[in-house]
Each structure stands twice: as structure tokens, then as C-alpha cells.
Symmetry: D2
């Protein structure tokens, strides 16, 4: 339920609405724009719209979507999410780059320096790697987190890395990870989403390869409804019949999410395409469609990479890419 105040509403009138919401056992969410809008959190099914038509109230309306806190009806301005000292969703696209997996201290450090120099603002790198086969490289684990934290300090760049299960929450806290990435396969790992709703760090939530927009936003709603509004969405390609590239980057989803939600959304052309030469055009297309940033894989020596060798750019190629994006940033 959303309560829209008149432009002329006084502070006292606003406070009266807030008090009434609390008395009903719900929580208010106040969004001050041109006129104040007060979202009602918690179970609203037993509330009557007309009970809230107090002085200064213009309209009371039900949220039409299944999600609430995630919805732009509920919160009209774009949300700005802090990752370290970088703002995602603030208007200017943010580039997150780095290797698919953290392999060695040197590899990470050199990659971080390279991508930062080229213009990346956030460093990515996986310490825990979800792999389809049990026989594939599963990541360095805690050591990877340590290298990430050390590199952050040396290169002065915030870090984003993937969390695979609730049991890793303590480790992520120990290394003070700036942004917790939820992989596509975990988009509906609801128990983990609930835990991520209790932290005070940014969460990068990737869309599952066959998740609908509604399911995607409902997963974000899990995190927000448990108390953490710091959600960054990420479109990373959907699974289709086409086999010429790994997935189809669904930029219509990006454009639609910008309409439906106040949350920032970025795109991941590296994972989506799986093919180097398609990354520059799809990066450009993502920004043109309205994405708030990009997630790009770049490695000091892709040929020796322990995962996704064919889609990782060299540092030089990443620099070129940044040059090609200039007019869209």
C-alpha cells in the first residue's frame, strides 16, 4: 500500500500518517520527492484504504505488482547504491572489471592495476567458483578473499566477489567484502537471500538464465524485505535455443527493469556472450539501453586463465573497450 501526500501536506500531517501506520503494526517507508509518498511495509491485506485518508493525504493505493519495496511505485527516485566509495545508479555508468577467478596474488594485483588505470571503478574476481562439473577448478576459497582484500588496500579499489552459500557469510564479513555477488544459479537460493537481507553491504544479484523479470525482482524483494535496500541487479543473458553464443543478453529486460524498479541494473556481456569479439558491441548496446554499469572479465594473460579463457579480455583489449564506450558514459 502506498500513501501519496498532497504537495501542501504539512510535516504534522505526514507524521500523523506515519503514526497510524505504526499503530496498525506496519512500518512506514518515507520517500520525499515533489510530494511525499509513504510506502507501507509488512502485511497490508487487513488494512482498509479509506482508514488512511487523513488530512493532507491525496491518494491511497495498492501496489499492483507482486513485489513492493523493489517497485518504482513504492520509491520513485533511482536508488544509489554504495560499493566502497563508488556509487552505482548515480547517473554515470560504473565499470566493474577483473579476472573470472582469483588465481594468484600477482595475477590479481596486476589485473587490478591494469583495469583501474583503464577506468574501471570496482574490481571483480571469484574466490569461490560455482562449476557445472565437480572435476573443474573450484576457486582458491578463503585465500582468494585474502588476496582480494590485500589488492583492495594496495590498489585502492572496492571489490565484488561471489558468495555461494550461507556458510561463507562469516568469511565475507571477516574480509569486509564491499559487494556480495549472488550468482545466476543462486538467484532463488531463498535462504541465502534472507541472510543477505540482514547485512549492510551491497548485493549484486544476477538474473537466473531462465528467470522471468517478475521472479528476478521478487528475489530482490527477498533481500529488501529482510532489511537490506542495497541491491544492484545484473542482467547476464538468458538461455535460448541459439548455440552460436552462450546466452542471449536480454537488454529489453534492462530497459523494462528501469521502468519497474528504482534499483540500479548493470549488464554482464562477458558471461552472456562467452565470445571476446562480441563484448565491445554488447557493452555499447547495454549502456545505450540504459544499464547503470558493466561487469567485464579482464585478465593479464587470458590464455592461462583457469576458467572462461575464451571470454576474458587482455588488459590492452579492456583499455580499447573503455575507449569505445566513451561517448556513452
Amino acid at each position: 500500500m502506498i500513501i501519496l501526500m498532497k504537495k501542501s501536506a504539512t510535516e504534522a500531517e505526514i507524521q500523523a500518517v506515519i503514526d497510524k501506520i505504526r499503530k496498525a503494526g506496519n512500518e512506514p517507508h518515507v520517500d520525499k520527492g515533489i510530494s511525499t509518498l509513504i510506502g507501507v511495509r509488512g502485511d497490508t491485506t487487513r488494512l482498509e484504504e479509506n482508514e488512511f485518508m487523513l488530512e493532507g493525504v491525496d491518494q491511497v493505493k495498492r501496489v499492483s505488482s507482486k513485489y513492493k519495496e523493489v517497485s518504482r511505485e513504492f520509491h520513485q527516485q533511482n536508488s544509489k547504491i554504495k560499493v566502497g566509495d563508488v556509487t552505482v545508479g548515480g547517473g554515470k555508468p560504473v565499470i566493474m572489471a577483473g579476472p573470472c577467478a582469483v588465481e594468484t596474488r600477482e595475477q590479481l594485483l596486476e589485473s587490478a592495476r591494469g583495469v583501474k588505470a583503464a577506468g574501471a571503478q570496482i574490481l571483480r574476481g571469484g574466490a569461490f567458483k560455482p562449476r557445472t562439473s565437480p572435476y573443474a577448478f573450484q576457486g582458491l576459497g578463503e585465500e582468494g578473499l585474502k588476496f582480494l582484500a590485500e589488492t583492495r588496500k594496495e590498489v585502492k579499489i572496492p571489490i565484488v566477489t561471489e558468495i555461494m552459500n550461507i556458510g561463507q557469510m562469516d568469511l565475507f564479513a571477516k574480509y569486509d567484502i564491499d559487494c556480495y555477488q549472488v550468482g545466476a544459479r543462486n538467484m532463488q537460493n531463498f535462504d541465502m537471500l534472507k541472510e543477505l537481507g540482514k547485512i549492510k553491504k551491497a548485493v549484486l544479484l544476477k538474473r537466473g538464465p531462465s528467470a522471468t523479470i517478475e521472479e528476478f525482482l521478487l528475489s530482490a524483494e527477498y533481500i529488501m524485505s529482510f532489511g537490506n535496500p542495497r541491491v544492484i541487479l545484473c542482467e547476464r543473458g538468458i538461455r535460448t535455443f541459439e548455440t552460436a553464443y552462450r546466452n542471449v543478453l536480454d537488454l529489453t529486460a534492462v530497459a523494462l527493469v528501469k521502468n519497474l524498479s528504482h534499483l540500479p541494473i548493470i549488464a554482464d556481456p562477458s558471461h552472456a556472450t562467452g565470445v571476446k569479439k562480441l563484448i565491445p558491441p554488447m557493452s555499447r548496446a547495454s549502456l545505450a539501453a540504459g544499464a547503470d554499469g558493466l561487469l567485464i572479465e579482464a585478465h593479464i594473460n587470458p590464455k592461462t586463465a583457469l576458467c572462461d579463457a575464451s571470454q576474458q579480455l587482455t588488459i590492452k583489449e579492456f583499455q580499447d573497450l573503455m575507449g569505445q564506450l566513451k561517448d556513452l558514459m
Copy 2:
């Protein structure tokens, strides 16, 4: 790597091969059929085929698929998996039935009696429910497990129920759950699969709605490679463009999996179709395609069900269904 012994091979020759495998730091998997076949577990990339051409050996070959222990090349006979005292994969189809969610002690007990009387051999019922929306009924939790254990004792029927995260492993052990169900959304929750590889209970692994057969079998391989061979696969429908039913039950997958793997595979026409009237024909089709069993939702009063009301059969409808399946069982 698979070592095929000659029919004439002696026990001593077989033992010599086993010893050589162990010496190389690998583990043997002995499968005695008409002639003995010895699978080699662990990393085999550094082994040479001809080193194993000992006396009595007919052929040494590499497994052609990415999975190994799951493969029929590795283990030729059908695996028979025990759920309580019921055998799945033993030739005769096994019907697992019960409500979508455990709601009350009475509801579960009555449902269990009804489905058992009609011919079901295993009781299903969810204590923990993965729900797309954070605002939907999330299951009774531990209380549900307790009701399941009590019902098992009273009705004398083994139980299968869904596990949603590693943190629930202890609870499942406490109530001695007979079969741990891995939901479609968790098919690639790799850390949980690893833990399920360490228990001595059956695991019912559902195919993700957009998982390929290879990914599905690789997820089973996670469980087997960590030591638990008691895997039952379950086809529950794939996500497509069609909106007239929830999912498309992919029975070609059932037929193909019977070729590629020795593991039993059952079908879930209730979740796949989401529509009552389609359950009987799709149940028949599943058995005709070679499924080793069915997972069917039946409830004492579907209209009041807390989830999936439209696809749960009444006990009477379930009895009718069992009648329609007789010629295929």
C-alpha cells in the same frame, strides 16, 4: 577411465588391476556383470591407458562423457536405490504421493493413509517450501519434519521431503529423513550437493527448469563423486514459451537418461503441468517412456491447500489415477 576385463580373467588378475589403480592414487569401482568392469575414480588425466593392459585385461578406455560415476559406461546395470525399505529402479515403478506442503498433523496423516491405501509406496510432503515471493507461505519448518516422522511411524511408509540449504542437514538427520529432495532451483547449489555426497540416505535430485541433460547428470556426479551413490533423478518439466501449462514435461529426457546413466529417473507430472486434468495422461506417458516412478501431489482437501491448490489431486482422484496406471506398472 574404464578397464574391461576378459570373461576369462581370474580373481588374481582382477586384484592386480585394483592394486595398480590404488598405487596410482586412484580408487577402483568394481562392477561385476558378464565380464568384470573396473572404473577408475579420481583424476585420471595423468594415467596412461597402456600401463593398465595387464594380464586378463581386455580393453582400457576413456569415458567419453564429462560425468563418470553417473555414466552407464562406468556401471552397466541399473542402480537400485533404497528409500526406507522401498526399492526405486528395480523394474516396477514406484509412486511417491502426498501433499505439496505439510500443513497440519491431521492433514498429513490422513493424506498418508489415503495415498498408501491407493498404492503409493513413499509419502511426499514439504516442510521447507522454496517460494518465489517472500510473502508466500514458507512451510512449517522443523514442525513439518516432526509430523513427517510421526506419520511414517504410524502409517509405515518412508518419506521424501525437500532440503533447502546446508544448515538443515542436522535437522534432516535428527528426524532420520529417508530421502532428501533437492528442488529444481537448487540443482546447481554445488556446496549442498557436496554435503549430500557425504550422507548415507537417498537423494531425489530434480532437474532445473532450464538445465541441460549434461548439467543434470553433472549435478548427480557431484553427489556420487563425494561418495553417495544413492541418487534418484527426477524430470519435472522445462521452461519454454508455452503458457497454456506451467512447464513442458520432457519425456525425451527420461528416455535418454535411461540410456546414458544407470541411475533411476522418475517424473513429476503434478509440478510440470500445474493442471489437474493433465496429470493422468502425463503420468501414463511418463511410465510408457520408461520412468522408474512418479511424484504426485495429493491432498485431503485441495481447495484449502496452502500451495499449488490447482494441481493437487483429491485422494479419490489419486485412487482413480492409480487405476488408470495399472496396465503400465
Copy 3:
């Protein structure tokens, strides 16, 4: 619009309704079951329900689906379609078999004798072949039709073969083809569907690989609304992300179509799977799901076949298949 007469309605009352329909510029479709049901063809948007509440009328209702003549609401009994002297939809499944393409007179003749002896009732064989590549074998053309007609005479078996464009209508008439097959790629070749609505022969309409059930039935509606009720539907697999087999045979579609429409529907496991060993289980599953027949590719020497070599059964394999289907026919 459908007018349901009371059980007690007299012939005169029925005639009065028919007259009124005609006077309104529409055409009646009379379906005599336990009580008579009169469908109203043509534009019914300008008609008022209550104008038709004449003596003897029980109910007047609007058809809820977008299609009308195809709908089971409009015509309750199963339609029985004649192909030569064979009835499709009459309760007992009908097997249509033969080579993918007509190659030589001898190949066709021998194939026809083989499949008929094994129990097939209708001969299939393509004279015009739609091929993805312009460089692939495009069929014998008219010569193929001639061979089909000659074989029909010699072996005494009706024939079904694919029509690719309106320009071939005369040729099909010249050789008096018993059943005109519309390929999956032509399911929405609307101009051709209209022409097929004007003939007095059976039409075998294949579902497009990404057509919804509604689109499929609307294509059948094109044929019926132009005057030809002799439509046999065919499910031949839908396109998905899975690459282990060509398409996913959607048997839920078969089960649903039996509910929504009175038209017979058969399945094509040969084209759907593209893999020989999957044809027997999927043939069984199709019949168990309620299919009114099967379309099977069988060739005297699949290895030399000019198309789809990997999915054509030998005559011996086709005999075995027929044996495996006995309990479901």
C-alpha cells in the same frame, strides 16, 4: 456463439433456430449428441445472445477461445477424419510410416510393402522437401508424387505427403493425394491454409517448433473456417535449449489438445528426437498420452537415405517397434 438445445427440443424447434441463424447472415453447424448443440459460424459479434433464446433452447453462450470450429465447445464428439479408407481419430491409433523422402520407385515400393506388412495403415514419403540449405536435396518433385500414386495402387495403402506452396495444389489434385501434409515451417503460411480450406481431402497440420497451442489451433481454424473440417493435427517437437536431441516432443500439448479440440492429433517421434534409439520409448509415451496415431520414418536402407539418415528405422526395426506398441493400441 453456441446454442445448446434442451434434451426435449423438437425438430421444429431446432429448425427454427437454424432459420434464425441463417436469417442473421450466419451459418449453423449442427452437432447432435445427447442434446443438440448448434454452433454459429461467421461473424457473431453483432448478434445478441437473448435473440436466440427461442423455444427449446437451453443456453446460448459465447465461445471462450479465440478459435471456434476447432474447439470442443463447438463440437463435442471426437472428429473422425478419413485418409483414403483409413479413419484417424476413431479410437484405435493409426500408424503412418515410410521414408523421409521418395528417392526411387523401388525404394518407395519396397518400403511401402514392408511398413504395411508390419502394420502401418498409411504411407508417408516426401516428394517436395523443405531444406534449411539451398544446397541440400530438394526432393524428386512431381516424379515423387507419381511414384506415390503408383505405390498406393500396387500396395493398396493411402498416402500422405508434404505440400510446400499454393502452386503445387494442381499437382496434388492431379495425383489425387489422400492427405496433404503442412510442414512445421508452413504452419503459419496463411494463404496456403486458406486454399487447403477449399479442398475435400484430409490435411495433416504440423505444429511449428515454437508455436503455442493457441497459434496451432488457430492455424487449424484457418482451414476449417474456409470450409474443410478434415484436419489432423501433429505434434512434432518444440525447439528448446536442449541439444542432446533435436527437439522436445511436447506430449502435454497432445493431452491438452485432446481437451480443447475435437480434432485428432498424432505425434512424430522420428522428427522430434532425430535419434533412432529414442523413437520406441517416445512412440509408447505418445500413445499413452492419448495420441491418435504416429508418424514414423522407415526406410529400406537408412544408411543411403538422402535425408535424415540417422533417424530412419529399417523395416526390421519398424516391425520391432510395432511389436512394442501392441499393448497400447
Copy 4:
């Protein structure tokens, strides 16, 4: 087969290769870039590579893709296709706009003036409309073509309109249509593609909603191999599980086709999304991905439109869109 001449090759040497190709019963396709490249048309399976290693020849290689004339290996420079006096594929994106269907002479004329004034270079409008339902508006037919031809003359703008079957070829010739559009449902209407291979007009070939890139390019190969190189490709969205918009505009396909083929490719965000507000961001994204143009539906009064009312822009909205695209053109 492709024959790459040395940079130093003389005209006589080039001619010798051409002569040899003709003598072998094939046709040469000469492409003069930095060094001359000669494609060999027709059946090349019986030719030996080394027979063509004449004086001045650097390399002889087989084309690796299934298509040939469409391939960038065969013809390296971008093809420029004339539609009337407008060039598509010449570097600067070309906007084609107009109503979904031609409804009246005035509607078309006014729409044409509006879109031309806003910057559109080609007028689109359907005279023959492929409709899923036989009960939907099927287009004005020949009268629509007449209005298009008259409008072209009055407004001085070339026209593109859809051809639905071979029988319409004469009508299209009569009105001298500048560009024949092949709709998505007809992408594999092979007999029509062959006929379009014999004309001297541009063909706008739309990708089927579930066609792979390879199938799409092979359909273009049909047209080219029958003699017409004037093919413009069009990405119009693929069918997926998502229901929040009509189709998913697959811009990765646009980026990949630019790599694989020399043919121009445009995008159709109107049909793909089916939602007005998504057209501007997806138009921008299309151009950023490298599309050579856009196909946009604009109508003088979308509310009264006889088809696709919800996705047609007003002339004013189309002007705004053109403003938003300026930096990408």
C-alpha cells in the same frame, strides 16, 4: 571454395583463374579489395583445391560455414543495398518507418509525410497482413499496394511492404515495390525465397522468432544463390519464456551477423517489444550494437489502428525518438 590471389597478381592471372572456374562448370564471384578474392559458385565438392593453385594464386580454401555467398569469407566488404535511391549498409543507419498496416489513402499519406519530416528515409506499411487468427483484419490487399505507390510518388520516399506468397509476385512488380519484406513466419518459405532470388529489387528478410543464426543466413543464401544479392537482414526478436514483453530483441545476433556476413542487418524494436515505452531504449541499443538501421511503427492515430495499436508511436513520439537517436547516427 575461395581463391585468394597474391597482391602482385596480374589481370591475366586473375582471368586465368576465372576461365578455369568457368571451364569446371562453376561461376566466379570476383571481389577486388587489397588483393583480389574469387569465390566459386555452384557445386564445388568435386573440385580439387590444388587444381586451382595457378600462377598468382596465394591460397585456395574451402568456406567453413554452410552458407557461402552470404558469408564474409566470400565477400569481405560490407554490401550496400539500394532501396529506391536510399542506401542501406553504407555506414549511416537508415530508419524505415510507417504504420503497421495501410488502412486508408489519407492515413498512409499523412503518416509518410510525418515520418519523412522527422528523418525516416523509407516508408513501411503492410498491404497484406499475416494474422494468427483467420478472424483478424487481413490487410487491404492490392488497394494497399496502390496507396503505397501513390504515396511514394507524392512524398518522394521509397517503400517496403510484406509479400506473403509467390502468387503476389506479379502484383508487387506491377506497383514496382522498392523492397519486398519477408515476414518472420515466412523465413523458411523456401519456394518464395527462390522466386525472390530472381528479381532485381531489395529483399528485407526477417529472422524467424525461433530461427538460429545459421538458419537465418541459410535463408538469405537461398535468395543470393538464386541470383539476387540485394538482401537486407532484420532481427525482430526471438521467442522465449519471458511474458513481460512480446519477444526478446537479440542484439547479440546483430553483432554476430556483422562478423559472419557482409549483408546489412537492421533491427525492429517495435515488433520485438510490442510496448511503446521500450522502443526508444531498444532503438538506441540496436544502433549501439551495430545495426544498419531500424524498422519503426508510427501511425497518425495509434488508438484507431487496425493492428498492433499498443506498439505504434504517434508522429510526435517518432520525432522525439529520432531526437534521442541523434548521437548514435
